[in-house]
Subunit: 296 residues, 2 copies
């Protein structure tokens, strides 16, 4: 595996078919599942690590974002990456960089409402990775369901010839969605955090039992939350999976997303409801506690 | 030459080195000089024709923009184009298209001040052409000097691996810069239109005589305007040629740009001042009236 820091170096190393896994590093099994999927389908697997300041409104959140590039390099290599791209901030945003990519509509609600400017930061950095690396397939996790919709919309609107592949959420044995931020979760808050996926799974159960009204599903999800558990719910909402637009009934793929603050940590989770299969995609589980906690 | 309407078709037809000439059609000798330059330097020459509604604030201006695709196809082919890309509006902006590329700073003054949203439209459509066609070199005329700076900034900021080549303005025998809009210029307004390049050339003369103060050069340009000639000057301004930022002295390449309304037609022109060569680039001249007026 080669580790490089400029777009020119990446393009020199890639072959006929390029899979890109854009990340902010501090890998867990969710990231590794994306790298492994790229390894199975594309000739050259490029993994980027860049904690993108443009998508953090809160500088304390940016500073606290966990980082360990040495550990990430080992994990990326063993999962099948060919090129590890770790640009510095000056490569990504050269002095005077002033171009912003915005995706109107898809960026407005949910995370966009709670993190102003967040999705402009995401769309800009992903557009730059697509422009500079020219991947054939790019891999994203479904946990950030609205981000996936923003990226799909941006790539289609700008005609990037890239396939966007959204892969299932990977969960701890107790159901908590893997997130690099989980390392900041206090032991006493862990039980509270399980409210997130439990709420989504309740909606998923009702969907599989035939419920198609978004309002009814959201009510079911909200009713499961243990309001005494020290969990501050930002939102529980549903949206069209392709473009994050509002939906009243589930006539096509829809995600239900939840965001909550638990202690000092803000977590998100989601579930994908597909009326074609009549299934709720809850993701996959790992058998043991995540490598985030010191395993490898 | 192949004429196609989708990005997939373009990419199927291009070779190892791609030159792109993005246009709005209704070709004059300025466009043809870009196509010929692409022919000399790249293996596959792609010429796009798209009258981009996103860059027109004024729907009457959009409706009046001259069009003649049949004539353009003949001229593009004889100038060396391999692929003529004529997408329809639905290809460029599919239903629900919501992604906008903005270049802050470079878009604010001059044309940006007189045409709100214009450069977001330009940056978005050019980013889409770069993303979808992946050219190695893209060719633009220097008349639209601020547009050239916006495109250069966008391409660098988003890391598109494309060289931006700005080529000299082509002028009528009497000095008027070629523009597709010139066909709308009334016969009695033609003399007034010559004020534009005369003002810029006066600044160019002073620059070549050693003047480096932007204010002094702009004063000289303004003093040449015949205020009784029925010409409504929007602005005469100078800016850094690379990013359209404000400059007080000419320490690097700077353009002086002018915009004016003459009758029902709004025209722009520019001159490039380069302290490295101590030369003002006034462009090139054709020997006979432009093909715009019926010649071929």
């Amino acid at each position: 595996m080669n580790t490089v820091a400029t777009f020119d170096q990446v393009r020199e190393l890639v072959g006929a078919s390029v899979g890109l896994v854009p990340t902010m590093g501090f890998f867990h099994e969710g990231h590794l599942s994306l790298i492994e999927a790229a390894r199975r389908s594309t000739e050259t697997v490029v993994v980027s690590i860049f904690v993108n300041p443009l998508q953090f409104g809160d500088s304390a959140d940016l500073a606290a974002y966990p980082r360990d590039v040495g550990r990430d390099a080992v994990l990326a290599g063993s999962s099948g990456a060919d090129v590890l791209f770790i640009p510095d901030v000056d490569t990504m945003y050269p002095k005077g960089s002033r171009t912003i990519v915005t995706v109107e509509g898809a960026s407005a609600s949910m995370e966009g409402a709670y993190r102003p400017g967040h999705f402009a930061g995401v769309a800009t950095v992903v557009a730059k990775l697509f422009a500079g690396i020219q991947p054939d397939v790019a891999y994203f996790g479904r946990k950030d369901a609205q981000q996936l919709a923003v990226v799909r919309t941006m790539a289609a609107d700008l005609s990037f010839p890239v396939e966007i592949d959204g892969l299932p959420i990977v969960r701890e044995p107790d159901g908590l969605a893997l997130s690099s931020r989980n390392v900041h979760l206090a032991r006493e808050d862990r039980a509270s955090a399980l409210n997130l996926h439990n709420a989504l799974f309740a909606a998923g159960d009702a969907f599989e039992a035939g419920e198609r009204s978004v309002n009814a599903l959201l009510e079911i999800a909200r009713a499961t939350i243990d309001v005494g558990a020290g969990i501050d719910i930002n939102y529980i909402e549903a949206a069209d999976a392709s473009d994050a637009s509002t939906v009243d009934r589930i006539d096509g793929p829809v995600f239900v997303a939840i965001a909550a603050r638990i202690g000092n940590v803000r977590l998100i989770d989601s579930i994908l409801l597909d009326p074609a299969t009549e299934r709720a995609d809850r993701g996959t589980y790992i058998d043991n506690p995540s490598i985030l906690y010191g395993g490898a």
